[in-house]
């Protein structure tokens, strides 16, 4: 298939259409709008043969696709920020009910103050929900991850919902050359969707019952184990996809770029800038560890790639208020049992769309040299103009 230049949101819509999706529920929120608009147009033009539900709120968007999936139809929705926060209650219920949903998150900051620009606070706030979370660097990866997400979610040993996270504006509104895998190939890869416990009058099931403490604890334990165990399938699906479609993203969990003794750990589109700076020798002795799969967290893999580094610099677009960045805390946890521990520091960058540009990355790497392990800083952008 040839590569075409198109907007990130259009690419998402086109790959969703090729996944043989039967029900789409949509509610607009910036910067997700271009995705659902494109799908609406494809539906209106009969390019995609599916039901399109214009719901009255995000809460109903996720509720409708949950119902549709439980009734045996592969479904789709996309949202971000306030919309994802509004969905929160159903986000947890979907994982607990083991409904294999796929949702694209056009990552955007959370209120207040209200802000439409990119950071990762919205999806990171859902990290404890039981969803698998994939964070993408570029549009091509979003396209490939959407296909993989359905394959992972619907796997009989997984049956968990998946969020494909793409940076709002940076990826939703960017024009990039991208290859959209053909419907024929995608459908062959995914197979026909067949939810094993679907709502069917011929074989009635009760879904979403009340569980008393002992059953609740047992079922939540099963859910926790399912999320941990999904790692194997995330890797397998990534590898199978690579074989069939010719594109891979590290080992499916992490992408290692360069071999410098100072490792930047980061997620999403800012990794492109970091890679560029490594290529241009703008950063001395720096490598990049890009976390693609944040849930399940690739603890062993991250420990293996970081244990021999001298410095670990976690740059991330979220903060667990009252402590530090969520990625930093988990990376630190992964390294705890190592005898030789690298120095580890945390920089919260890009909140509410503050540009994570080359001066920012340079500032972070230089500052990391000067501070002690455990240092945490929120970079609001004003430091950069003062220093560079």
């Amino acid at each position: 298939m040839p590569r075409e230049v198109m907007e990130g949101s259009q690419a998402v819509a086109r790959v969703v259409a090729n996944c043989d999706v039967k029900v789409i529920a949509a509610y607009p929120i910036t910067p997700q709008t271009h995705i659902v608009q494109e799908l609406a147009k494809m539906h209106a033009d009969s390019v995609i043969d599916c039901e399109y539900i214009n719901v009255e709120a995000e809460f109903s968007a996720i509720s409708a696709i949950l119902g549709a999936t439980a009734a045996g139809a592969r479904s789709f929705t996309a949202t971000c920020s306030q919309g994802l926060a509004l969905m929160h209650e159903v986000v947890f219920a979907a994982a607990g009910m083991r409904i294999p949903l796929v949702m694209v998150i056009a990552n955007r900051a959370l209120s207040a103050p209200i802000n439409i620009w990119n950071d990762h606070q919205d999806s990171m706030a859902e990290r404890d929900s039981g969803w698998i979370q994939l964070y993408c660097e570029n549009v091509q990866e979003v396209v490939d991850s959407v296909v993989q997400a359905y394959k992972i979610a619907e796997h009989k040993d997984v049956l968990l919902p998946v969020m494909v996270c793409m940076d709002g504006f940076y990826l939703t509104h960017v024009y990039e050359p991208v290859e959209i895998p053909s419907k024929e190939k995608v459908v062959k890869f995914l197979g026909k969707f067949s939810y094993p416990y679907k709502l069917d009058p011929k074989k009635p099931v009760t879904m979403g019952p009340l569980a008393f403490p002992a059953d609740y604890a047992r079922l939540r334990k099963q859910l926790a184990e399912a999320v941990w165990n999904s790692k194997e399938i995330v890797r397998k699906v990534h590898d199978d996809y690579a074989k069939r479609f010719g594109r891979s993203y590290g080992d499916g969990f992490l992408e290692v770029y360069g071999d410098g003794s100072k490792a930047i750990v980061a997620m999403g589109s800012m990794c492109g800038t970091i890679k560029h700076m490594i290529d241009k020798d703008e950063l001395e002795d720096v490598s990049l560890i890009r976390v693609r799969t944040f849930r399940p967290f690739p603890k062993d893999e991250i420990r293996d790639v970081l244990k021999d580094k001298d410095t670990v610099i976690v740059m991330e677009k979220n903060i667990s208020l009252g402590n530090a960045g969520a990625v930093y805390l988990e990376v630190k946890d992964a390294l705890y049992d190592e005898k030789r521990k690298p120095k580890i520091v945390n920089f919260i960058v890009g909140l509410g769309g503050v540009d994570v540009n080359r001066p920012t990355i340079k500032y972070v790497v230089e500052k990391a040299e000067k501070v002690k392990s455990g240092f945490v800083e929120i970079v609001d952008g004003n430091e950069i103009s003062a220093s560079y």
């Binding site: 029900v23 039901e51 709120a57 949950l66 119902g67 439980a70 009734a71 009058p201 009635p204 099931v205």
Partner: protein
């Protein structure tokens, strides 16, 4: 075989005399087995599905409190996309789940013209959590969050009218029902079953003996009195035309209804409030009868 037992098994944990359980048996029997029920959180979800048991012999899904109508929308569209045009999809919830917290979802489904049946069984309060005030609670009723106090005599607002709200959304069929008039209730559910291609909503009175402080053996007696006093009107609106299904020859005094229920006891000595309620009923009936007589097409109001 008893009413609705092919769809709704006994052994569930509802209270003695539960009006909602009686409503469920009639609704589910009238619907038959080619249905999928989408249930809101509430008494009728926690009492019927204590894992690993279930009362439901038809496919049933519960997700959260406020999304039954949205889940039902998704289920129906999924069936349609798979070529199943026969299975009926039903959103069921109480007054809390459908009139209050889930009203947005109900409104959305009505506005979109979803091909679903919406059943609102109305216990006139949050029964599941200990009878707190809801939008469905009637004027003057004492609930745990609108208690009859020394100064404030119970709820000071009138009941939210979900049936007329559904009419104003342009719903295909809207009806009210009451378990004391069970043949009428089942006929309305069957009519909703038959009418396809748009939303049908049935608002059903469902006494909560524990919450209302009513003797469990008096559930149906109270339900009947609600109709005989004129407080609960049985009507339907089809293609915009109102039809009142039952007109008591003479309204029984509201006092007869109130004195059987602890939630209204404090009003019996308040002649001013009793008169206010009775005149409210009178004006409501006069208006509704006028609409019926004149054949007003309510859909032309929107």
């Amino acid at each position: 075989m008893g009413i609705g037992l092919k769809q709704f098994a006994p052994g569930h944990r509802t209270c003695a005399g539960c009006g909602s359980a009686i409503v469920f048996r009639h609704v589910l029997e009238a619907l038959g087995n080619d249905v999928i029920i989408c249930q809101a959180t509430g008494c009728m979800e926690v009492t019927t599905t204590p894992y690993p048991e279930t009362s439901f012999k038809v496919p049933w899904i519960h997700v959260v409190f406020e999304n039954a109508a949205s889940v039902a929308s998704g289920v129906k569209r999924a069936l349609k996309a798979q070529g199943n045009n026969h299975t009926r999809v039903v959103a069921m919830g109480g007054d809390g789940g459908m009139i209050d917290i889930g009203f947005g979802a109900v409104s959305g489904a009505l506005e979109r013209g979803e091909d679903i049946i919406i059943i609102v069984y109305d216990t006139e309060a949050y029964s599941n959590t200990g009878l707190q005030r809801s939008g469905g609670t009637p004027f003057g009723a004492s609930t745990t969050t609108s208690p009859a106090g020394k100064k404030i005599p119970g709820k000071q607002e009138w009941k939210k009218n979900i049936a007329m709200l559904a009419v104003m959304h342009g719903a295909k069929y809207v009806a009210t029902a009451n378990p004391a008039f069970w043949a009428d209730l089942q006929a309305k559910v069957k009519k909703a079953y038959k009418l396809e291609g748009g939303p049908r909503l049935i608002h059903i009175y469902a006494p909560c003996p524990v919450g209302w402080h009513v003797e469990p053996s008096k559930t149906i007696k109270v339900a009947r009195l609600a109709v005989e006093t004129g407080l609960w009107m049985l009507y339907e609106v089809e293609e915009g035309k109102l039809k009142i299904n039952y007109k008591p020859k003479e309204f029984k005094p509201v006092e007869d209804y109130f004195k059987l229920q602890g939630r209204f006891k404090h009003l019996l000595s308040r002649k001013d409030i009793m008169e206010k309620i009775e005149s409210h009923i009178k004006e409501w009936w006069e208006t509704m009868e006028k609409v019926e007589e004149e054949g007003v097409n309510l859909l032309k109001m929107i």
